[in-house]
């Protein structure tokens, strides 16, 4: 059992958890993730480690309640426990001093981008962060990112906060303003990562994305997380999760991630009914 030291909402259905996991805290590097299972009948899901505290022996994850498992997670409070947390999994982000690095986070993807932004800053990069959300409430970790970024640009689809528009539009504005960008990290919804890749391809800017395919074990054993990159198949859990954005087949990823859409919708309905006491 892994104890939750702190649980707090930081956005709509977006919850931050500090979890006691000293060994993972000690070993994890930016870009790595954990697989967790909420309870005995639960599924195994991958979640990126947003931060860690070695002294305290804790890791931080940020979860958006979308499916049944993430909704169950988000119902947990400080003092509760999670049954299984395994990690750190995946390869760490490749960090070097590129020069100027733009870190783009879309929605809860910002939580995944955050540790890598920190590492890029520590490696000597000028870090520009663009963090997008549908509305103001979905823009997360702005203060945390300000601490490790030279510039931070929040964007919202509806203009309720910061730049009115998509993260790609802000990125294009920066490029056109003459900012020499050497590296882009983009993490968020697949459509957003694809749009960023399409944009930076034209400018020949090295771009990395972190992929979130469906996984079971997270250690290379099942092959469920296979992604097509440059025409070759890789396992995101052991070969990734970060890949060259210009080579990723995003369309296949999007389709593969919809594999269990019917079952997921069904289990969310059942879960919600249970919460509302309808006893289904």
């Amino acid at each position: 059992m892994y104890k939750i030291l702190e649980a707090k909402f930081i956005g709509p259905d977006i919850k931050l958890f500090r979890i006691e996991a000293p060994q993972i805290a000690k070993k994890r590097l930016a870009g790595q993730f954990v697989i967790l299972r909420v309870n005995e009948t639960g599924e195994r899901i991958p979640i990126t480690i947003a931060d860690s505290n070695v002294q305290e022996g804790s890791i931080t994850i940020i979860v958006q309640g979308i499916g049944k498992t993430t909704k169950m997670l988000n119902a947990l409070e400080t003092g509760d426990s999670i049954l299984d947390v395994a990690g750190p999994l995946g390869k760490a982000s490749e960090i070097e001093n590129f020069g100027t690095a733009v870190v783009i986070g879309g929605g809860v993807g910002t939580a995944i981008a955050f540790p890598t932004a920190k590492a890029l800053k520590d490696a000597g990069n000028k870090v520009i962060s663009i963090i997008g959300g549908r509305t103001k409430e979905f823009v997360i970790l702005e203060n945390e990112l300000r601490e490790c970024s030279d510039e931070v640009y929040p964007t919202t689809d509806d203009g309720s906060y910061g730049f009115h528009g998509f993260v790609t539009q802000k990125l294009e504005e920066l490029i056109k303003s003459g900012e020499k960008i050497d590296f882009v990290l983009a993490i968020g919804p697949i459509a957003m990562m694809k749009a960023v890749a399409d944009l930076t391809r034209g400018y020949n800017i090295k771009t990395v994305v972190s992929l979130n395919p469906i996984m079971v074990d997270g250690t290379g054993m099942c092959g469920g997380c296979r992604v097509s990159v440059g025409g070759k198949t890789f396992f995101a859990c052991v070969d990734g999760p970060e890949f060259d954005a210009h080579l990723v087949d995003f369309d296949t990823l999007m389709k593969r991630n919809a594999n269990y859409a019917i079952q997921e919708a069904d289990s969310v309905i059942k879960h919600n009914c249970k919460l509302e006491g309808m006893g289904i």
Binding site: Q23, E43, M221, C222, G224, R226, V238, A258
Partner: protein
């Protein structure tokens, strides 16, 4: 009972293992074989002619004292039979079910030349089940504590059998397991209907009672490295299994509905996706669908028989060669046929077809014929020119084996591996090139059987003991 003569023993027919009716069992996950009754077991045990120089023991990868435990059954001292078994085999109820005895102990049984061997596997299962069901699994005899600490990486058959021997030598054993549950392939791979998970867990529990410590959710190479483990353990046994599924490498392989056997079986067995009312792991709905499994081994049989139980309309094996070349146990092929599995022999997949949503809809396949024998001595399948078919299928499961998992070798560059990533060891001692580090099971041999992995675990345990005694590498 007065002593029987050899002639009398040889007149007894081999007792048939009672089974669930194929039509019934193909729709449930309950165990196929019921096990022998007490009377059946005693009668079967009486068939053993008690050779002066028994060949069966040498035929067993873990060298179970087969004649001794069989005589104990004949004497109706079932507790003693179980005790004898456990001196050499940490998982007798498991092995009694999944060992390929017909290739091992039963193959060399002298009676096999005169008809049918003694049913060693069925008797092993009987003794282990009898103990568990009647008096509870008795603790194994733990050795006088030595203060030596050994880390075992991987809670599958190799690691568990190694642990069973090491605690008998008096060492402190910790098993590190990457998944949340122990048992490795016994839990995620072999289905409930062939190996009930409760039985696996009961045998693992007996190791825990003997003092073996289990640490789950712990991935050596990531959560902690071998170098770090070496600082706090006197010896390390790497038994992580194969664990990186091969795919066919044909077009369309990333369509939804195409699984590795590892993923498909893990979802169903470990994560219990066959019970969606109680468990959250999703599975593509197989009811009334056509499922094709590629491969001819035991895993392929497990996958295809699982598909039937999940309600598949057609559950089909596609194999490049003929039934004769199939590596699966004869019993598994026989059971699969009885249950209604179709065998599409001499076929090789060319391409998967899918729809706009990215879901699998069909398969193009090449008909084959057997040509000249290849290096392995098996006749090589060659394509029949122009004989290409397209069939509608909904789910594909690829069960053509596993490569070696890269996590440990990446984190341990010093550890010598071959070009396929298998850890290199001295075969007799299971020693790797790193002092104090041993390895065995599928990570060394590539995909093999439970019992061969267990045999490797025992060899490693003995070799670790020699190393700890002598201190010499």
């Amino acid at each position: 009972m007065s002593e029987m003569t050899t002639k009398e023993r040889m007149q007894i027919d081999r007792i048939q293992m009672p089974e669930q009716d194929p039509q019934v069992r193909s729709h449930n996950f309950l165990e196929v074989n019921y096990g022998l009754t007490k009377e059946m077991a005693v009668e079967e045990a009486n068939r053993c002619i008690r050779c002066k120089k028994p060949l069966c023991v040498a035929g067993c990868p873990v060298a179970v004292k087969i004649p001794e435990f069989i005589i104990a059954i004949a004497d109706e001292d079932f507790a003693l039979a179980a005790k004898i078994l456990k001196e050499d085999n940490a998982l007798p109820a498991v092995c009694g079910r999944v060992c390929p005895q017909e290739e091992q102990c039963e193959k060399v049984c002298i009676l096999e030349k005169k008809g049918r061997s003694v049913a060693v596997g069925n008797l092993e299962r009987f003794a282990a089940d009898w103990e568990r069901e009647n008096i509870g699994i008795q603790n194994i005899k733990v050795g006088t504590p030595t203060g030596k600490k050994i880390a075992i990486i991987g809670g599958g058959p190799a690691g568990l059998s190694c642990a069973g021997d090491l605690v008998q030598f008096g060492h402190e054993v910790t098993i590190f397991e990457a998944l949340h549950g122990l048992g490795g392939v016994l839990m995620y791979g072999i289905p409930e209907f062939r190996l009930p998970k409760e039985i696996v867990q009961a045998e693992i529990k007996s190791l825990q009672n003997a003092g073996v410590e289990f640490v789950t959710n712990y991935i050596i190479g990531l959560t902690e490295t071998i170098d770090e483990l070496r600082e706090r353990f006197d010896a390390i046994f790497v038994a992580v299994g194969a664990g990186l599924p091969y795919f066919l490498n044909i077009p369309g392989e990333n369509f939804n509905g195409i699984y590795s056997s590892n993923e498909y079986l893990t979802r169903v067995n470990l994560m219990k996706a066959y019970d969606p009312e109680h468990y959250d792991t999703p599975m593509y709905d197989i009811k009334d669908k056509t499922v094709v499994v590629f491969g001819g081994g035991n895993t392929a049989m497990d996958a295809v028989r699982t598909a039937l139980r999940l309600g598949a309309k057609r559950a089909v094996i596609s194999y490049r060669r003929t039934e004769k070349e199939m590596p699966a146990r004869v019993e598994e092929i026989h059971h699969a046929k009885e249950e209604g599995v179709e065998f599409m022999l001499l076929t090789a997949p060319l391409e998967f077809l899918g729809n706009d949503e990215g879901r699998l809809t069909g398969l193009r396949l090449q008909r084959m014929e057997l040509g000249e024998p290849d290096d392995s001595g098996r006749r090589k399948p060659v394509p029949i020119e122009g004989a290409i078919d397209t069939i509608d299928i909904d789910v594909a499961v690829i069960a053509i084996g596993n490569g070696s998992n890269p996590i440990i070798s990446r984190a341990t560059p010093e550890l010598n591996v071959n070009k396929w990533g298998n850890i290199l060891v001295d075969e007799a001692s299971m020693r790797t090139n790193m002092v104090g580090v041993f390895a065995g099971g599928d990570i060394v041999t590539g995909g093999a059987t439970v019992i061969l992995a267990m045999g490797a675990g025992r060899t490693a345990a003995k070799s670790i003991e020699d190393f700890l005694q002598s201190g010499i590498w």
